[in-house]
Assembly symmetry: C2
Homo-oligomer: 545 residues x 2
């Protein structure tokens, strides 16, 4: 098994000169952005890792991504991962950390799960500075804004339901203009999305300037440029835009940068991170959040469309346990062999695989993240169903064995790359926003179509007329189902996807459509996991995972 290195040695192994490595302690670093932007083109391969619809049984997509990188390095392939930064909010809620598990983990995991190098804080700060400037312009009437149109919400990396809907500007005339507003979790903020889509500091600045904060009384857009704070926001984000370098327990390099959620945002690591992995490795492994209906769809329709990326291979992660859960088996009984339940759950995997093949032109490989209770008959049922789609299935035990346990998956990956994808997108730029939503619902979710509240319809029409019709859509939807009902597992069909709210993300270059009852600010559970965390006198943190 390979071992962790100093972060300087990780950088050196990728050919990054020491002057381009900004160390944060001995185990984290930022890579100088100008160095990355000047890297020569190389003929590297891009792999997208996605998954079936998540279940409480566990799939281990991040764990598998890390295991795959470790496995590829075991067989001599220079693989580099690109991953999202975890959000701190859920760490104190329900989710725990997001740095893999077992022997397939990123280190230093506590740091990465908490403040890391401060990127989330910088994004929240830029967002909230902008919100303060908007309310200040309203207070002093320096820029004409109709307070009812203000669409910039504040952001915080905390699960805090009490901040979803608030009234600000109370306390008399020195306290600003009273109006309704709300907070999103930082991972769902427009600045996060903008940050993740930026390709350089100049591009970030240009995108920030285009962010629409509201409208004047004629209904014309008021932008960040109109408020004159493009430079200030860029300054706040400057250092954060350089991507972070860390490693797995086995020393495999990982670029961890940007952290939008895939259910309520576009769910992919930053364009800069994925391009950095492509520039530094022979194989770049990028991960998109939640199931392929969410992260992967947005990876293609938003990120590949804008950034000119095209994966050579898509890997869909599944577990026997999760498929049995999709097939109706109780959580308590997942250790028991049940081939019928696996078969009953297969439509979820099949639907994701077919979407990747038919809609996005992907060469697909299925990775089964192994658990001890998996039986040969259950695995055979998966292989049989995938065989019909001409898709290989690779088993992997990176959780228990690290990279050595992922060597089979690594070899299967190398074989799959011999006949790579010919990436296509789900819809054309020219389709209307409404048609784009309908197309995603039908082709990717398998639903009957999208429906719109009157307010959502009105806003779509307004955006279409205002010239935003060419943008892709980013549908916010529950991760647990293809539909908007988190309880409907498997691969439902015939359902409607009700869109209740439309938000323009002009800086990121997409239009967010909020469906069902999905929230852009999560809440804490009745007993938050914050209650399980302790710190010893020497600083060791327990209970973070």
């Amino acid at each position: 098994m390979n071992s962790p290195k100093t972060i300087n040695d990780v950088a050196t192994s990728l050919g990054i000169p020491e002057r381009s490595v900004l160390r944060y302690g001995s185990d984290k670093a930022k890579i100088d952005l100008n160095y990355l932007l000047d890297l020569p083109e190389r003929d590297s391969r891009l792999i997208l890792v996605t998954a079936i619809s998540p279940t409480p049984a566990g799939e281990g997509k991040t764990t598998t991504t890390i295991g795959l990188a470790d496995g590829l390095r075991q067989i001599g392939v220079n693989a580099v991962m690109a991953l999202r930064e975890p959000s701190m909010g859920p760490v104190f809620g329900m989710k725990g950390g997001a740095t893999g598990g077992g022997k397939a983990q990123l280190i230093p995991s506590d740091d990465i799960n908490l403040h890391f190098t401060g990127d989330f804080a910088a994004i929240a700060e830029a967002n909230n500075l902008l919100a303060a400037v908007v309310d200040n312009a309203l207070h002093f009437a320096t820029v004409e804004i109709d307070p009812r149109t203000i669409c910039i919400r504040r952001a915080m990396d905390v699960n805090d339901r009490a901040l979803r809907d608030v009234v600000v500007g109370l306390g008399g005339r020195t306290g600003g203009v009273t109006r309704e507003s709300g907070f999103d979790i930082t991972a769902a903020s427009q600045i996060m999305a903008t940050f993740c889509m930026a390709t350089s500091l100049t591009d970030l600045s240009e995108r920030l300037s285009q962010i629409v904060v509201g409208a004047d009384f004629e209904g014309d857009d008021v932008t960040v440029a109109d408020l004159g704070v493009t430079g200030a926001l860029t300054a706040v984000l400057r250092d954060a835009l350089a991507p972070n370098l860390v490693q797995s327990l086995e020393g495999s390099p990982a670029i961890v940068h940007g952290g939008p959620f895939a259910n309520i945002a576009h769910g992919c690591n930053s364009v800069i991170a994925t391009k950095a992995a492509l520039g530094l490795g022979d194989v770049a492994i990028t991960e998109a959040g939640f199931g392929a209906d969410l992260g992967a769809e947005k990876f293609f329709d938003v990120m590949c469309r804008q950034a000119g990326l095209a994966p050579d291979l898509s890997i869909v992660v599944a577990t026997v346990r999760a498929l049995k859960y999709h097939g109706g088996q109780d959580l308590a009984d997942l250790e028991k062999e049940n081939v019928e339940a696996v078969r009953a759950g297969m439509p979820n995997l099949t639907k994701h695989v077919r979407t990747l093949q038919e809609v996005f032109g992907q060469k697909v490989l299925v990775a089964i993240n192994q658990f001890g209770a998996d039986t040969p008959a259950e695995i055979a049922a998966i292989e049989e169903a995938m065989g019909e789609l001409e898709v290989d299935v690779a088993l992997s035990n990176h959780f228990g064995e690290g990279g050595e346990g992922a060597v089979d998956l690594a070899h299967a990956t190398v074989r799959a790359l011999e006949s790579p994808s010919h990436t296509t997108l789900c819809y054309s730029n020219e389709a209307t926003l409404e048609d784009k939503a309908q197309t995603v619902v039908r082709r990717v979710y398998g639903g009957a179509g999208a429906t719109f509240t009157r307010a959502a319809q009105r806003e779509l029409t307004r955006l279409q007329k205002a010239g935003y019709g060419r943008l892709p859509v980013c549908i916010a939807k529950t991760q647990y189902s293809f539909s908007t009902d988190p309880k409907v597992l498997g691969a439902p069909s015939g359902f409607d996807v009700p869109i209740r709210e439309v938000r323009l993300s002009a800086g990121a270059g997409f239009v967010v459509l909020i469906s069902g009852s999905i929230m852009t600010m999560p809440g804490l559970p009745k007993r938050p996991s914050a209650c399980d965390i302790s710190v010893s006198a020497d600083g060791t943190i327990s209970g973070l995972h």
Copy 2:
């Protein structure tokens, strides 16, 4: 003139082993807290730098602190500074940066003025996680809290008047319990105060556990310990508690840590920072915010009282310009010689000096931060008045000449240290909270006394009964005047100090009394300085200062 070093060389020059230096890039570092706590006692001297009441004419207290350190090093004294971290909010409002000026500056100044090493972000995160946990306990009724008693406000490092008074928990029953609340700027938050008073990770944890978030329906305190999140808050703050090491343009070491404002908080760098400077240098120079009525009073009555510190010398910084402004000269005419205006402004300086001598037992030295337009006659007027108090006056031109310009000040400092202070405090622990306030108003501000709104009086009585009477008080007051009216310059007397609000800061160990119309969340001015900031394609930031 001495030059900047790598941060590793700065650390090495102080004898800090490389394994105890956590680098953040090549020019910033955190020093391992356990290393600092294990440093042997040494016979070092402590100097407090304070100032006259600030004016728009400029005093340059931080600049003088840096110049003094550079000057002492010029004459071979191993001086180490302890300073507060700047708050980002005011950087985008009116104030600009807070890292000195001219040839007496801290570097890297942009970084220090913006995110630095993420300490403010960690403090805001801990504060807001606590607030979310409180609202969550209310939502699920897991801990009995009377919503009307909740005294934890949220925090953000942004000047945002619209967040001063808000209603949270709107949007129906999934959005928590509706109640009035508000945000403070991070520098005024209770977590910031608690963080700055902590002496170790264990002490921080103990202090956090004692923070009172509200009361149950019997009126009994509900604390962080009752909510079960002491460990989680400690985990969020763990890395931030290690102090930051940077340097001046001349390579003088500076411990920059903690950033409470002196008008709305206790205004001193962290106990850990000042103790680190004492442990690493032969002379430690610590700075307290704004005039001696604010930062210095709190340095003695809050920080020295709790942390057992006792300065050997207090230096009061003044400028001829500012004294003329206190003496009634117009801002536009400050370049013109006006000895009478200097004399008319002297009572402000004299009052601060006498308070330091008589109330706090200090040996005092006055440092005149020189400007080109200062005339010998004006300086002579200052020397004459100070002579009557047996206080030396040293001139310093560190702004124009760096450490070489501060050699006279450095020599005067060394001379002054030959007959050091015998530090005393303004009131005893046994005095009631109300008596403490009265004593500070009379002895330090020169006022007639404190008055209390009925609500403030009621809260003081409640706290006294609840056992918090032994704590010191921390009066929030405008920095521009000894009184609560920012327009009354010089050294007024006979005024009342109206206290309108009382806030217990049980974690920090003091009771905040809010006077006059001072706000714990500043607003942006009509034209925020954010509008003047730009970033070039290569990342150079302009307009931050």
